[in-house]
């Protein structure tokens, strides 16, 4: 069980303020679409009449995100007449939700950021299976990876309302133009372009290893591409050992890049992630590229004067050994905790493209729902993020977020610490793999 989600908190803080505000700014003037916008969507029967029904909804969103989510809920009220009360559980959703369930007073619907929590709640019998209408809608609107991610033992419980894309490589367009570098598609081209940037006198890549979490995302992206989705799942569940040759391959590939002193800006082990964004998009730029998820847009806007979409753009994490488009990411799943008509109707509503479109237009939001109209995204960058997420042949949830937190979420321990050591000493592939395996055995208990 994970109760402490430091990583989630970091990301949430980064995203909430800046990204939402920045993108919302672009869409000012566009109000939420009035009802019956998507009458063409499948499985959207006439909304039931729920006047007099009161529903309690909880999620970890607060601030601007809460306002946007409440706009989504308001539309549900307008369609059905139900009163919906939203409560923010803050960053520690798992603990709060478990306490509420133990106390016999769970919310009707909760939106949670952890597949592990969905899994444990479903196994504990706290969740209501998706109704046939919701399931039909989910199966029609979402790719199989997302349906599987919301299912436990073949039964579907979750509607992934929000998604995030952690396979985005952000670059300073001015630096790339000056160096004559282009957006790479493959890993080899990636290193070639980084070399070009380095030849122009600016480091190709800035890494802010921070407490280690950005390094886990690097590894997950390379591993998902080099080893494939099945092995990714196996390693996530720790049925595959970290000393497996495929892990060694991925680590070797990373170590070669991280160890290239002409490409990588020195001092990465002591740099916070936020500082690495400033190194790339600040003035003067000290490096050309920084890798992390879609939330980097928020860091760029709040920390630098660079403008996302013109000075700052991203490309998809490059393909390794001809791997197809794959995305490592995160998301927030709606789950139903009380068996009543209102809650079921709300789940159906949240699975619909109309619900997602409301927030999409407000900005700072990516929907994994395939039927959301891409033109609804307020700017090109958020549209591109969503397109990469939807068009990915493979989507996998962040591995370290699914691992026991002693392994994948503790500063100074487990994967975070071992990858930090590896970053400082990138030739020690074998030692790193053994250390990871040892830590994983302790944390997974097998």
């Amino acid at each position: 069980m994970k109760s402490t989600y430091r990583r989630q908190v970091l990301i949430a803080t980064a995203v909430t303020g800046a990204f939402a505000m920045a993108l919302a700014g672009c869409s000012s003037g566009s109000t939420p679409a009035p009802s019956s916008a998507g009458s063409s969507a499948p499985a959207s029967a006439a909304p039931p009449d729920l006047s007099g029904v009161t529903l309690n909804v909880a999620a970890d969103w607060s601030g601007a995100e809460q306002t946007n989510f409440e706009a989504v809920l308001k539309q549900f009220t307008a369609e059905t007449g139900a009163t919906v009360n939203y409560t923010s559980y803050g960053s520690n959703v798992a603990t709060t939700l478990n306490t509420k369930i133990t106390g016999g007073d769970p919310p009707d619907v909760a939106v949670i950021p952890q597949p592990g929590l969905l899994d444990s709640l479903a196994k504990a019998g706290s969740l209501i299976e998706l109704s046939p209408e919701t399931l039909a809608s989910v199966q029609a609107n979402y790719s199989k990876d997302w349906v599987d991610l919301g299912s436990v033992d073949g039964k579907a419980y979750g509607v992934w309302f929000k998604g995030s894309n952690k396979s985005t490589v952000w670059y300073n367009t001015n630096v790339y133009t000056n160096a004559g570098a282009t957006e790479p598609k493959t890993w080899d081209d990636f290193t070639a372009q980084l070399k070009k940037v380095a030849d122009s006198g600016v480091y190709g890549l800035s890494i802010g290893a921070d407490v280690g979490w950005p390094l886990t995302d690097w590894f997950e992206n390379v591993f998902l591409r080099s080893a494939g989705a099945d092995d990714y799942d196996a390693l996530t569940a720790h049925t595959m050992a970290w000393t497996d040759p495929k892990v060694i391959d991925a680590l070797t590939q990373l170590g070669t890049l991280w160890g290239d002193k002409t490409i990588v800006q020195p001092g990465g082990a002591q740099r916070t992630f936020g500082d690495s964004v400033t190194e790339v998009f600040g003035s003067p730029a000290k490096a050309g590229t920084v890798y992390e998820g879609d939330f980097v847009a928020g860091n760029i806007t709040s920390q630098t004067k660079s403008v996302v979409g013109t000075d700052a753009k991203f490309y998809d994490f490059p393909s390794v050994n001809n791997s197809g488009p794959a995305v490592v990411g995160g998301g927030n799943a709606a789950i139903q905790l009380k068996d009543n008509k209102g809650a079921a109707a709300l789940m159906t509503y949240l699975a619909s493209p109309e619900a997602a479109t409301i927030w999409v237009k407000l900005g700072g939001f990516t929907s994994p729902n395939k039927l959301v109209d891409m033109s609804a995204y307020p700017d090109d960058t958020s549209k591109q993020i969503a397109e990469s997420l939807i068009n990915a042949e493979t989507f996998r949830f962040d591995m370290s977020d699914q691992a026991p937190s002693a392994f994948g979420g503790t500063p100074g321990a487990g994967e975070w610490k071992i990858l930090l050591d590896f970053y400082s000493n990138p030739t020690d592939v074998q030692g790193t793999a053994q250390a990871l395996e040892k830590a994983a055995v302790e944390a997974y208990g097998k």
Binding site: M1, A181, D210, V211, Q270, A406, G412, A413, K417
Partner: protein
């Protein structure tokens, strides 16, 4: 005092009259005392006794809290390297920090007695106490950043260093990835093979920003054909803004690198001749011999990255920096405590000593210090207890990569139980260890208070 007491009591009834009702009021007094103490006792029980007992109990169980594992957590504590480092660091802290704080506080307090503006000075030294520990941590972390552009301390070091030995003119320049030039381990750029006298050796370099070139730089041109006893060539920046151009060839507006030193080295490694590149990057070296071949090199001094300060927050120095920040905060506390002890002191003793011919050091050694001893011990023990529990600074200052090297028991306790480790069994064991470490000093403190009251 005692005489007036007796005088007041005896007239009331004497010894015999007082004895019979003694028991009843005693019991009643006990009950009254209990009633008055009850709220405090309940609070102590709930907030101190129960958590201590429960932590002890919990420390005997594993992470899940279900399986009894006896003293296993205590064994882990001393065998697990991460936890062991935290214990080691705590020992370093206890040895260094309280002594430094007390000594500094003593020096400040004693000197303060003698200067004008003492209050202003005291205020400044005491000021850090008014800042929250977390904020102080952020200040120190920023001050000691490794990057001289971010950290003030390294910026100062680099400025001082550069004032005495200016950096290279082209830091970071290097041959392109498909160049035939080689880079020696010391950073010297060399011609791949030996160059015959009377031929041309060019040096196309990359890795420099065009905007950083000196204003005198001109577009590079091909060197003139060398005379029989010369080696000529061009040193240029082999990069065209926006890409393009052919690597290794002059043209497309590529700029020369004026001022680069070029040396001709014989097979024994001795420099036989040298020249400096002109504004268009060309150089001409007159060889001492009219035949033979040499290695042509660009010495590392042209390109060295320069001094970039000290890695303060790296694994080796991080604990020192954190202790420094602690001293910065708590020296003020010990100064104020000791100064109040000084001001309460009867100065006639010192004056008497001075009259008797003692010098200032003797006055301090023989009179002031012994009289101050009770205060010094209180300050010292308070600081020891405080240092054992240190958390905030150690949590805030180190960057992620050196956190495992800087960690202390309290931070480790939090990390293993709540900060992701989710092993509250081991966390409880660490808490008990911390309690055991603090306990003796608590007892000493309580004893001292008692003794003082009895005096």
């Amino acid at each position: 005092m005692s005489t007036s007491h007796t005088v007041r009591v005896t007239p009331r009834g004497g010894e015999s009259a007082k004895r019979p009702p003694h028991h009843a009021p005693g019991r009643r007094r006990l009950i009254t005392a209990l009633i008055f103490m009850a709220p405090a006792l309940v609070l102590l029980g709930v907030l101190v006794a129960y958590p201590v007992v429960y932590s002890l109990w919990r420390s005997m169980f594993d992470a899940s809290g279900v399986n009894f594992i006896g003293g296993q957590n205590y064994v882990t504590m001393f065998t697990d390297p991460a936890t062991f480092i935290s214990i080691r660091n705590n020992i370093i802290w206890v040895i260094v920090a309280p002594v430094t704080c007390t000594v500094l506080g003593l020096i400040f307090a004693v000197l303060m007695n003698r200067i004008k503006w003492a209050t202003a000075f005291k205020l400044i030294v005491f000021m850090p106490m008014a800042i929250s520990m977390v904020a102080s941590g952020v200040i120190f972390r920023t001050l000691f950043q490794e990057d001289p552009n971010l950290g003030a301390v390294n910026a100062g070091l680099v400025a001082v260093h550069d004032a005495f030995s200016p950096g290279a003119s082209y830091p970071g320049a290097r041959p392109g990835s498909d160049s035939t030039l080689t880079v020696a381990s010391d950073g010297e750029i060399q011609s791949q093979a030996t160059v015959a006298v009377g031929s041309v050796q060019n040096f196309p370099l990359v890795g420099l920003q065009t905007s950083t070139l000196p204003g005198t730089a001109k577009p590079a041109v091909a060197a003139e054909t060398p005379a029989a006893n010369q080696i000529t060539g061009t040193v240029w920046l082999d990069f065209v803004p926006g890409g393009g151009g052919t690597p290794g060839t002059i043209g497309d507006g590529k700029m020369g690198l004026p001022g680069v030193t070029v040396e001709v080295v014989d097979t024994h490694g001795a420099v036989v001749a040298s020249a400096v590149a002109a504004d268009d990057g060309t150089y001409t070296i007159n060889s001492p011999t009219s035949s033979g071949s040499y290695i042509v090199t660009l010495p590392a001094s042209n390109f060295s990255q320069g001094y970039s300060g000290i890695s303060w927050l790296g694994p080796t120095l991080v604990t020192a920096v954190i202790i420094l920040s602690y001293v910065w905060i708590w020296a003020g506390f010990s100064m104020v405590m000791i100064a109040s002890g000084l001001s309460a002191m009867d100065i006639s003793l010192q004056e008497a000593a001075r009259v008797d011919g003692a010098n200032e050091w003797q006055v301090f050694r023989r009179i002031t210090a012994p009289l101050l001893m009770p205060v010094l011990i209180v300050v010292f023990i308070t600081l020891i207890i405080n240092v054992l529990k240190i958390f905030d600074l150690v949590y805030v200052i180190p960057p992620g990569s050196s956190l495992p090297d800087a960690t202390v028991i309290a931070v480790q306790l939090w990390t293993v139980s709540f900060g992701g480790g989710n092993d509250q069994g081991l966390g409880s064991a660490l808490a008990i260890l911390l309690l055991v470490l603090v306990l003796p000093f608590m007892i000493i403190n309580v004893r001292r208070f008692k003794m003082e009251r009895e005096q």
